[in-house]
Symmetry: C2
Subunit: 125 residues, 2 copies
DNA sequence: TCCGAAGTTCCAAAGTCTTGGAACAACCGG
DNA sequence: CCGGTTGTTCCAAGACTTTGGAACTTCGGA
């Protein structure tokens, strides 16, 4: 609580304030393949907005967050929210490059864990 | 508002009180096959309780509402609620016989509209 | 070094879903 | 025709989800 009067030198334990290296943006959390949960995935893609996103990614392309949200007329924060849910459910994968985030369908792992699911979602038979 | 004094004969316009034939229990509403909506279905089976119900019905048997709810430890009203959601989404079919309701998976229509979906839900490959 | 662009996080309001007790309806058997 | 059984509907409380503006972080370029 007590702030020492200015001595002209930096306070001796100020460096202790940040002892942990926070990896910040470089770490984007994805659930491991074995942790994917069918209920969670179904609940997540059960939202029409999010199902649209899955379909935009169906061809395997990577897309940026901006265009994905804009295509659905969403404000940035709302787009970010839905993309986070998709990533946390394991439906999409996100890769950072500079300030850009490339989003793609996590097709390989989904197919491995729940064969046929992606085809059902994207309407491919 | 004025009730006529008893005349020994039934009041002349009493039959008007029930002009519409209410089919009551005999009519259980199911969405037509063409109206099934993938988002709604996914949202519905995205609940772990409801996914369990789908799996209990996976072998094609009919089950009664009671046993379905009891197997999951649900009070009657809660079981009834989840079974209604499944029926309204087109996932199950319900048929009445006396006071009993037989519930089964609507596999034919689901397979027709969304091929592969039932297998994904039930874990069959 | 400052600016703008890309995205995220924070947060509160609004909306939707779930739960379970109580009351109810319909049918069956005795 | 009464009592039990099966299941539904009603309803209010609580939980969870969605929305979008504002503030913020990070990076790249001029």
């Amino acid at each position: 609580m007590a702030v020492p009067p200015s001595t002209g030198a930096p306070p001796v334990d100020a460096p202790r304030a940040a002892p942990v290296v926070v990896p910040a943006r470089e770490t984007i959390r994805h659930p491991p393949k074995e942790a994917l949960d069918l209920s969670q995935i179904l609940r997540t893609v059960g939202d029409p907005l999010r199902l649209s996103i899955v379909r935009m990614l169906a061809d395997g392309r990577e897309m940026l967050c901006g265009p994905l949200g804009e295509a659905l007329g969403l404000p940035k924060s709302t787009g970010s929210y839905h993309l986070r849910l998709l990533r946390e459910a394991g439906v999409t994968r996100t890769r950072q490059e500079g300030t850009l985030r490339y989003v793609s369908l996590r097709r390989d792992d989904l197919e491995d864990r729940f064969p046929g699911l992606v085809d059902v979602l994207t309407g491919a038979q």
